[in-house]
């Protein structure tokens, strides 16, 4: 059992020269990135840019091909169990179990995160309350709306009281009101807990309004990093993040979903009836 680094002194996320290959294709190439503790950090880019692959390395689902990845100084490859204890993860798809109630969904994750038995039911109730699902907690998730499911998934991730919350496209497929609801909750939480949030999105306006800093990712590489304001100012007073992206990549951002995304969305839709 090796000693772990003092978490307060380390960045929440540290990537150095991270490269991930799948056969011939390079999904992530030479990515170096630091996310400070307490930051809300957005990884922006079109589908296929390598955002999700980066998150999969950080969530211990995929080994780093080369380079290093750390979470609060803990090496993801060497000590995956320790990393899993400090993160909360919400994948891109709506991944709550429709055959269970909201409370049962959250309780499962409370158990999987080893929340002590005496605190479990209180903590489950608390996160359901915070996510505005207290009244719907005993209903089957099959009856939930998309926005409610996303908030339930946030509750599942938060029951662990993670130091780092990792969200893959948290508002994809939600209507504007549901999207706002999800964002308000994430914002409040961060104000209250000082938790670090790392998210991916391809909605530039959202990232601009909500993230402390963003990294623009395109074709497996990071093209620019900074506060949304910095990045916009470099281009001139009228520039939007959208323009910044085009400037750094010579490419449109919202190119629309590819086949895989479309299929996943359809599957989610059919699963939830």
């Amino acid at each position: 059992m090796s000693a772990l680094p003092d978490p307060s002194a380390e960045p929440a996320v540290g990537l150095r020269d991270l490269t991930v290959r799948f056969g011939e294709t390079t999904a992530v190439e030479g990515v170096t990135l630091k996310v400070a503790a307490g930051e809300m950090f957005g990884l922006l880019g079109p589908n296929g840019a390598g955002k999700t692959t980066t998150l999969r390395v950080l969530t211990t689902l995929l080994p780093a091909g080369s380079g290093t990845a750390t979470v609060f100084g803990i090496a993801v490859g060497a000590q995956p169990m320790e990393v899993r204890r400090v993160i909360g993860f919400v994948p891109q798809q709506l991944s709550a179990d429709a055959a269970l109630t909201g409370r049962e969904n959250v309780s499962l994750f409370a158990r999987l995160y080893d929340v002590p038995r005496r605190q479990r039911s209180q903590r489950v109730s608390d996160v359901l309350e915070v996510m505005g699902l207290a009244d719907a907690a005993e209903r089957l998730v099959a009856t939930y709306s998309g926005g409610m499911i996303r908030r339930l998934e946030l509750a599942q991730a938060l029951v662990n009281r993670p130091r780092l919350l990792i969200l893959d496209e948290p508002t994809i497929g939600l209507d504007p009101i549901a999207r706002q609801g999800v964002w308000d909750r994430i914002d409040d939480l961060r104000d209250e807990t000082g938790m670090t949030v790392l998210l991916t999105t391809h909605y530039m306006d959202e990232a601009d309004a909500l993230c402390d800093r963003v990294a623009l990712m395109h074709r497996a590489r990071i093209r620019a990093v900074g506060t949304p304001e910095q990045l916009r100012r470099e281009l001139g007073p009228e520039a939007t993040l959208e323009d910044v992206f085009r400037h750094h990549t010579g490419d449109q951002l919202e190119a629309g979903g590819d086949m895989r995304n479309l299929r996943q969305t359809r599957r989610t839709a059919s699963r939830l009836g």
Binding site: M1, S2, L4, P7, R56, T59, T60, L61, L62, F72, I74, Q79, M81, E82, R84, R85, V86, I87, F89, V90, P91, Q92, Q93, L94, S95, D97, A99, L100, T101, E104, L108, F109, R111, L112, Y113, D114, L140, E153, Q156, N160, R161, P162, R163, T193, G194, M195, Q264, R267, T268, R271
Partner: protein, 265 residues
């Protein structure tokens, strides 16, 4: 607010793994409680086997058995019912993979083997509940089943171990074919020989020699043998039977745990 960051010692890790396996079994029971329709529809087939096949062959006296044929058949149908629940369990795993559930589970501090064991015994929970329906049916049809609690506890262990083996076999196949449709086809293709090249319907001694050879390496035969011994009191090598099932389940869990990362890649 934040949880402390330090590795667990071996004992805490073991306790934690056990709790995680239990948690995954619990949600399976919760799902069954919310939707009993599946339980009932799955009860139709074993009921028909007992009623039509069982009653007909009891009349024909075509298969010589040491106990009445319906008694002989009941443990076989119990095992068959548990087999059907488990052998298609991989379909649920592929579903969970497509829905991102598997990724989310794998990002929790649950070792791969504990995750697979949790899924395997969750399939066992389903098989047990399904098996209970078969036993009630058999009792109603007049099969003389044991009421000895120790023997019934043995039945629970045997069904759990067998379901764990067949469900992890299904997860292994899921990890190889990575598609629900193909897994469905393979599941159907292997269910037939697993069932007919076993002692579920007739004694092994009646089979052609080459089918006997399959029956000897078929875990289903050991399951049926143990169930017959426990439920009816027929001679059975319970130690060997349970040993073979426990070994098969452990091998299945280990192999499936190795293939699991492939499913989330």
């Amino acid at each position: 607010m934040a949880s402390a960051v330090h590795p667990l010692d071996a004992r805490s890790q073991l306790l934690s793994n056990g709790a995680h396996v239990g948690a995954l079994c619990l949600v399976e029971l919760q799902k069954l409680r919310h939707d009993r329709k599946e339980l009932y529809t799955r009860a139709v087939q074993p009921a028909l086997w007992l009623l039509i096949f069982g009653e007909t062959f009891s009349h024909l006296h075509a298969i010589p058995t040491s106990v009445p044929y319906l008694d002989f058949l009941a443990p076989g149908i119990l095992a068959q019912s548990a087999l059907f629940v488990s052998i298609f369990y991989g379909i649920q795993i592929i579903w969970e993979r497509d829905a991102g559930v598997l990724a989310k589970l794998m990002a929790t501090p649950t070792p791969r083997s504990a995750l697979v064991a949790g899924k395997a015994f969750a399939a066992g929970m389903r098989a047990l509940v399904q098996g209970l329906v078969v036993l009630v049916l058999a009792a109603l049809l007049g099969v003389a089943l044991t009421t000895n609690p120790l023997r019934l506890a043995g039945v629970v262990v045997v069904v759990l171990l067998a379901a764990a083996f067949f469900s992890t076999l299904s997860i292994v196949l899921a990890g190889i074919v990575l598609s629900r449709e193909r897994l469905m086809g393979i599941g159907q293709a292997i269910t037939m020989p697993l069932f007919f090249a076993s002692n579920a319907l007739y004694p092994v001694a009646l089979m052609p020699r080459w089918v006997q050879a399959i029956a000897v390496v078929n875990p289903l035969s050991y399951e049926v043998n143990a169930l017959r011994g426990l439920l009816l009191g027929t001679p059975a090598a319970l130690g060997t039977d349970i040993g073979v099932l426990a070994f098969s389940a452990a091998a299945g869990i280990t192999t499936a745990a190795r293939l699991l990362p492939r499913l989330t890649r």
